[in-house]
């Protein structure tokens, strides 16, 4: 038997089912691994061994009672943006450093119901605002492939934890690339579903019209298993969509013959030739399986970044108004009056990037500027969505790189926000259009992972997972483990 920590969720599920390992044994093994490696990585904000072991014991009991599903007893981690009942939920911020959630997010609740064991909460950029995990109040996460480099963000802790095989899978959220970009930089598989596919209830809001929960895992098959358990309509989230959830694992093996793939022209203009070569090699592999590749153009896509940096800050400036030091969260010492309470609680509780976005957002919504910024951005957003829609008349999915570079060094971009924002240049489009998108490991450049991005029409998760799985059947990039973590 392969070492436990190297096994995929699907393999663990089979091992648990066959009784080759118990959930308690598995949980112990992974807790020990986190204990050993996480000091260096800082992928976790909190680990609750006691509750994890209790959940594992309950999962084992459930299995003995004959009441186990495919995920029962499988340990995972949650990005610390998902509320977990009775446990700290910090969102990577000093503002919520001591916040204990009184309830479970829908995603957490559904995975618990499936019998999943929660090992801990993963590190992230503060309130999911960042592309490097450097804005976390709990310190940066290190990329397991190179400790001097960033894991990407904002779901950097989840990506690093999976890449280092501290957990087989973890939840994440993606507002502008926060699942796909770290997945690419850490060499793991990540899926951001269609907006509305996964409930946002209990997922702390950054930009409500863009936020979507998803999965980071070793393989597309694992992502399919977990997404199936998380997804679905939730009456507590008015933006969740009332559509049945298909069995994502049932269609993984479908042949790709006749699949029409669009190569996104705008994603290849000016792309690093070494990355381009790896993307083209991946496309060749899909072509070899019968897919047809042709070029498509989304002329408005280059406007994604400026559009995003109006819409997302606008929404966040309003979403984060609730952190006022009145009911929960950080409150300054000895406030003199109400204004002082607000100013100091928020001034102390939020980090620089969060403040920057609140200020941008407040500005673009202000009287006299609303039309020029927010309204205009919404119009451009509609154009970008229309571009995608047109493209999907011609092709089934579009493909390109997930990121313009491999993992960059800690501190390399943190002083220059705009350069940092541009690292999401390829991922933001899918969020603006609400489309499902994946990042799949497709090679290594100087021992650093590169991600292939697949974007499909609304609710085409099955197709994306099918393509990713078929690709992974013919490649082993997703099974590569960074040195020292094998």
């Amino acid at each position: 038997m392969t070492e436990l920590h190297l096994m995929t969720v699907a393999e663990l599920s089979a091992a648990l089912h066959a009784g080759r390992v118990s959930s308690v044994e598995l949980t112990r093994a992974l807790l020990a691994r986190i204990e050993r490696h996480d000091r260096a990585l800082n992928a976790f904000i909190s680990v609750d061994a006691e509750s994890a072991l209790a959940e594992a014991a309950a999962a084992d009991a459930r299995r003995h009672a004959g009441d186990a599903g495919p995920l029962t007893g499988v340990p995972i981690a949650h990005k610390d943006i998902f509320c977990t009942r009775g446990q700290k939920t910090t969102c990577g911020s000093r503002m919520l450093a001591n916040f204990v959630s009184p309830y479970d997010a829908t995603v957490v609740e559904r995975l618990r119901a499936a019998g999943v064991v929660t090992l801990g909460k993963t590190n992230m950029d503060e309130f999911a605002m960042g592309s490097s995990n450097e804005t976390s109040f709990f310190g940066p996460v290190r990329n397991p492939w190179d400790g001097a480099r960033v894991p990407g963000g904002s779901s950097g802790g989840s990506a690093a934890a999976v890449a280092a095989r501290l957990v087989p899978a973890a939840t994440g959220t993606d507002t502008g690339g926060s699942i796909r970009q770290p997945a690419a930089l850490c060499g793991v598989t990540g899926i951001k579903p269609t907006y509305g596919r996964v409930s946002r209830f209990g997922m702390i809001a950054f930009a409500s019209s863009l936020d979507q929960g998803g999965v980071l895992a070793i393989s597309a098959e694992d992502a399919a298993l977990l997404l199936g358990a998380m997804a679905g309509f939730d009456e507590r989230d008015s933006t969740s969509v009332e559509l049945p959830v298909p069995d994502y694992t049932a269609t993984l093996e479908q042949p790709l013959k006749g699949l029409k793939i669009g190569m996104l022209r705008e994603f290849f203009a000016g792309l690093d030739p070494a990355i381009e070569q790896l993307i083209r090699a991946a496309l060749a592999l899909l072509h070899a399986q019968g897919a047809v590749v042709r070029e498509v153009s989304l002329p408005n896509l280059p406007l994604s970044v400026p559009t995003y940096y109006v819409v997302a800050p606008a929404e966040c400036s309003s979403n984060l108004a609730r952190y006022d030091g009145v009911r929960y969260g950080h409150r300054c010492e000895q406030p003199r009056d109400l204004t002082d309470l607000y100013e100091r609680s928020r001034g102390e509780g939020f980090g620089a990037e969060v403040k920057r976005r609140i200020m941008i957002g407040t500005y673009v919504l202000s009287a006299g500027y609303y039309d020029a910024y927010y309204l205009k951005a919404q119009q451009v957003r509609a154009l970008i969505a229309a571009d995608f829609e047109r493209a999907f008349h011609e092709v089934d999915v579009v493909i390109g790189p997930t990121t313009p570079t491999t993992a960059f060094s800690l501190g390399a971009k943190s002083a220059d926000p705009v350069t940092m924002y541009l690292s999401d240049i390829y991922t933001i489009g899918a969020n603006l259009a609400g489309l499902p998108a994946m990042s799949v490991p497709c090679g290594l450049l100087e021992e650093l992972p590169v991600g292939l991005q697949i974007i499909g029409p609304h609710f085409s998760e099955q197709k994306l997972l099918n393509i990713a799985h078929r690709y992974q059947c013919e490649s082993d990039w997703h099974l590569r483990v960074p040195r020292g973590f094998g």
Partner: protein, 484 residues
């Protein structure tokens, strides 16, 4: 210089839903502080709003009742500002696309004419919580029970020209929302309140003057006083060469004056934008038709019907239909007395309901629905007036007896011996005794002091314990005095 006042009202009516507009918490008034605030109301991290369908239905009802357009698509927007009783840091309201727009109501003016008051829009929104300052030694406490209670904000056109008109309009809306069963109308508890926009201009001027907005008026009396204070204040400012400042003001009921709260410059920039947590609200025609089919008879329709069926005056019909319960009470009594075939009897019932009965209800603070005399008993009393068993004057005493003792009219009449004296000889005897006892006055009367007729009537009434039939007495006394 002659001034003209221009007034528009923004009325906030709390919708009578059982739960809040975006959460499942109860809305009942008077619970211990924060007992009705759940995680959504407290704006915990990660929670989301879910629209209450009943609140939508109520807003649609209102829109139909004022002949307004009900939007097929309306949008919830966030109104952003910081305050401790606003947990999310924004209020969910409607801004550019409200659910109801372009309606009107007619109000009856004092000169008997009616005026149409336009309603620009009515939108759905959530109420804020309450900040409490009293008895807290400089601290502020927050009660979020009210946070998230559904409201409709009803914005009138600037069609009102006096405080009286504003009150008549507000009463009209008050009546309407209670008929529709969408608001309990309780002004003391803040379920129905308004902000008054007031400006003055030289009569005949086309442009409006600069307006002030006086917030949170929660009684008809306050509305009238606050507006009249504002009118006088603004005219005084203008006549002394000053300028009215555009500002928000507060009415102080203890001192009967308004005071500035914040100026235009200090006004918040609310940074409205569509709430991304809520999809646009889509309403289709079949839904609107269903709501329309369930509308009750509305006050204006009811008043018209009462005039037609029972021959009531517009004024009486207006007073009786101010509340559906009062009108229902009247109708039960009037039908009992013969309904449309006996308009004279209906008028008796109307007078008794609007007069003595309303007096007793007010005196004891009892709602018409809890009246101690039911409409059938009231009809029984009036039948005794119609058949001359008692006079209209005595009927008032009998009603009071029924109210106090909880017995029927006949029982009270008999127990108190109030049966009218119609027997001519008995009345004549009483007249003769009175005249005999007042020879001087009789002489004066005969000398031409005809006013003394009333004195004699009064004395005979006193002597008969007011039981003498007034018509008969009148007739007999005339005969006696005339005949010498």
């Amino acid at each position: 210089m002659e001034w003209e006042t221009v007034i528009g009202l923004e009325i906030h009516a709390q919708l009578a839903t059982r739960s809040k507009i975006f959460s499942g918490s109860a809305t009942a008034y008077g619970a211990p502080p924060n007992a009705q605030a759940n995680l959504v109301d407290l704006a915990y991290p990660g929670v989301l709003p879910v629209l209450n369908a009943e609140a939508v239905r109520m807003a649609v009802k209102f829109g139909l009742a004022i002949n307004a357009r009900v939007a097929r698509r309306s949008v919830f927007a966030r109104k952003n500002y910081f305050y401790p009783d606003l947990p999310k840091g924004y209020q969910i309201s409607q801004y550019e696309l409200p659910i109801v727009s372009g309606g009107a109501v007619d109000i009856l003016l004092e000169d008997g004419t009616s005026r149409r008051v336009g309603i620009t829009r009515a939108h759905l929104e959530e109420d804020a919580g309450k900040s409490l300052h009293e008895g807290l030694a400089g601290l502020t406490a927050v009660d979020l029970n009210r946070a998230g209670t559904p409201l409709i904000e009803i914005v009138s056109e600037p069609h009102l020209r006096s405080a009286r008109e504003a009150v008549a309009y507000m009463k009209k809306i008050h009546t309407l929302v209670r008929y529709l069963g969408i608001c309990d109308g309780n002004m003391q508890e803040g379920s129905f309140r308004c902000d008054a926009n007031v400006s003055v201009r030289v009569r005949g001027a086309e442009k409006f003057g600069t307006r002030t907005e006086t917030k949170n008026l929660n009684s008809f009396r306050f509305v009238e006083r606050a507006i009249n204070y504002e009118i006088a204040r603004q005219i005084e400012v203008l006549e002394s060469g000053g300028k009215v400042l555009q500002e928000t003001r507060l009415y102080d009921p203890d001192r009967g004056e308004t005071r500035p709260m914040r100026s235009k410059e200090e006004a918040n920039d609310y940074r409205y934008f569509p709430d991304p947590d809520l999809l646009p609200l889509e309403i289709d025609q079949p839904y609107i038709d269903t709501v329309a089919a369930g509308l009750p008879e509305l006050p204006d329709q009811k008043a018209l019907r009462l005039m037609n069926e029972y021959g009531l005056s517009a004024y009486d019909a207006g007073v009786l239909t101010a509340s559906a319960e009062l009108a229902d009470y009247f109708e039960v009594a009037a039908r009992d007395l013969g309904g449309r075939s006996a308009p004279h009897h209906a008028k008796l019932a109307a007078n008794m309901v609007m007069g003595e009965l309303s007096g007793l209800l007010n005196r004891d603070g009892v709602q018409i629905s809890d009246s101690r005399v039911d409409p059938a008993s009231l009809a029984g009393l009036l039948r005794r007036v119609v058949d001359n068993t008692i006079s209209g004057t005595i009927a008032k005493d009998v009603l009071e007896g029924m109210w106090e003792e909880g017995r029927g009219a006949d029982a009270v009449i008999e127990a108190r011996g109030l049966t009218q004296i119609t027997d001519e000889s008995a009345i004549e005897t009483a007249i003769e005794a009175v005249l005999a006892a007042n020879p001087a006055r009789l002489a004066d009367y005969r000398a031409g002091k005809e006013k003394l007729f009333g004195f004699f009537i009064g004395e005979v009434m006193k002597a008969t314990a007011r039981k003498a039939n007034p018509a008969r007495l009148n007739e007999l006394l005339k005969k006696k005095l005339g005949g010498g």
